[in-house]
Amino acid sequence: MFSKHIIKQSISSNWKLWALLTGLLSAITVLMMFSFISISNNPYNGIDDKLDIVPILAQAIFMPTLSMGSILMVILAIIIGNKLVAREIDSGSMSFVLNTQTTRLQVLLSKALVYFLMLFLFSVIVGLIVVIMASTAANLDVDMSLLASIVSGFVIYSFAISGFCFASSCWFNKVSFSLLIGAGLPLIFMIIGTIAPVFVETNLDLSNFLKSITVTTLFDINGIVKGDSFAVQFIILAVIGIAMYSIGIIKFLKKDLPL
């Protein structure tokens, strides 16, 4: 089902960008954790209770709109998604691989696996940094179950977003078209997710309309922090992701390749 050579090659040609962006977000997280620890250790800070850090981290790193984590995640998803399939078709380099007895399906499943794992580790590593650093500090209050919900939500959200990039990369033979759609849609989702709340105060009631056409609203961090239920939204996000990956793979199996 998978080809270990394709997996190896896909990792070796993409790990540098992955390491760079994951390292960047990890560094930001480490800095935030240090500042939390130093605030909580300062006896004059006027905070009597333990510092509840998960809601702050959720806002700064995991918000599906313009947070550090989601911006870096979208960049990662766009570049690697486009590189994995569309670029190899556009340049013609996939012809060699398909001239072995590796099938189109094996190639795509292997690439999708690498893609998903990269995005999965991107989120999970940040979560682990929080857990490990918090365990060394006495005065931090880390709501582990809330953190777990938010990190897993972010993984599912990344999966859905990457589905659009992957489907676009599989659909188009030209890198320019693949990038136009594969980068365009995630960015539009982020922008709509960011501006939608602004319209709440107007009489136009655009807010509900905008929220209904973007996937970012399905990952409602503020709701999760407040304790709203989120299972249904997560399932919908996962279904969107699975649907997009499937659309991409099915199209790729049927289309003409200019190799």
Partner: protein, 304 residues
């Protein structure tokens, strides 16, 4: 040995605006080197991509070893070595790493690859991205032949190679043919085709306009003769007969005439009535034949 291992049957792929290929049919027998000639954009690569299972035909189909190329690409690829018309390599550092990866994907050892590298004087350990076009082409040649495939499909295999390497390539193809391999090769280098191919097809505007045995180029059924008469009067009377004249030069009492083999007896009988200075056949090279099919618009869908 007579069985066709590559069959292209009424293959049609219409890209619109007259581009693509239309009702292309030909077969390649086991152990044969088949040349596929045509200018840029004539439909050579389109046809070849169908054979590799990369494209789905609008009409007709193609098969290799009796297996449909679109529905059974995995089985078909097991028989094939392939060089694409445009060569680009994946993100892999050195040429040798790439060769090793493909060898291990095919489950073959590197002995043949090493031999081919030596044969083509290729040092594959350099960085792929910095390699010249010729070096990239050599790596593609190594990769296409290193697993001893029964059938090799080459889309303009010598582009970028220097004349010395082109000569080595010709020798290589001939030795592979002697080993019983079947080779389909597209090209627009006549010399290379003349030296290697047993049979060839000429494609133009997506249609096969001629298929011929290489022997027929020299033993072509439409022969051209130059005839010189002793007298101008004879030349003129002969010039008025029903023949296809290429040139009438009455100043020198000379005509050039094209005669099909089926009319040769009538031709000889007619000539016997005149006093001749000499008669000689004008041999056509492949290049002249090729140009003949290209300059004359009425030849589309023409003879076989």
């Amino acid at each position: 040995m007579d069985e066709n291992v590559i069959v292209v049957d009424n293959l049609t792929k219409d890209y619109g605006l007259g581009r693509g290929c239309f009702d292309v049919s030909f077969g390649v027998k086991k152990g044969e080197v088949f040349g596929f000639l045509g200018p840029n954009g004539a439909g050579k690569s389109t046809t070849i991509r169908h054979l590799l299972g990369f494209q789905k035909a609008h009409k007709g189909n193609c098969s290799i070893m009796g297996l449909d190329c679109w529905t059974k690409p995995k089985e078909v690829q097991g028989y094939l070595g392939y060089i694409a018309g445009e060569i680009n390599y994946p993100d892999i550092k050195t040429g040798w790493q790439f060769i090793k990866m493909i060898a291990s994907m095919r489950g073959v050892d590197l002995k043949e690859a090493e031999r081919l590298c030596e044969y083509y004087q290729l040092k594959p350990h350099g960085v792929l991205k910095r390699m010249s076009k010729g070096m990239k082409q050599k790596i593609a040649l190594v990769v296409a032949f290193m697993h001893n495939p029964q059938i090799v499909i080459l889309d303009e295999p010598t582009s970028g190679l220097d004349p010395l390497m082109q000569a080595k390539f010709v020798d290589h193809i001939l030795s592979e043919r002697d080993k019983g391999k079947t080779i389909l090769m597209s090209s627009h280098i006549f010399e290379e085709v003349e030296k290697t191919c047993d049979r060839l097809a000429i494609i133009r505007n997506g249609k096969i306009v001629a298929q011929m045995h290489m022997n027929d180029i020299t033993h072509n059924k439409d022969k051209q003769f130059e005839v010189r008469f002793k007298s101008l009067a004879d030349a003129q009377t002969f010039g008025n007969l029903q023949y296809e004249f290429v040139e009438k030069n009455y100043d020198k009492s000379r005509v050039k005439v094209k005669v099909h083999d089926s009319h040769i007896n009538r031709f000889v009988a007619d000539l016997a009535k005149y006093q001749l200075e000499y008669i000689s056949e004008i041999k056509l090279t492949l290049e002249e034949r090729f140009m003949e099919y290209y300059k004359d618009d009425t030849m589309v869908g023409g003879s076989l």
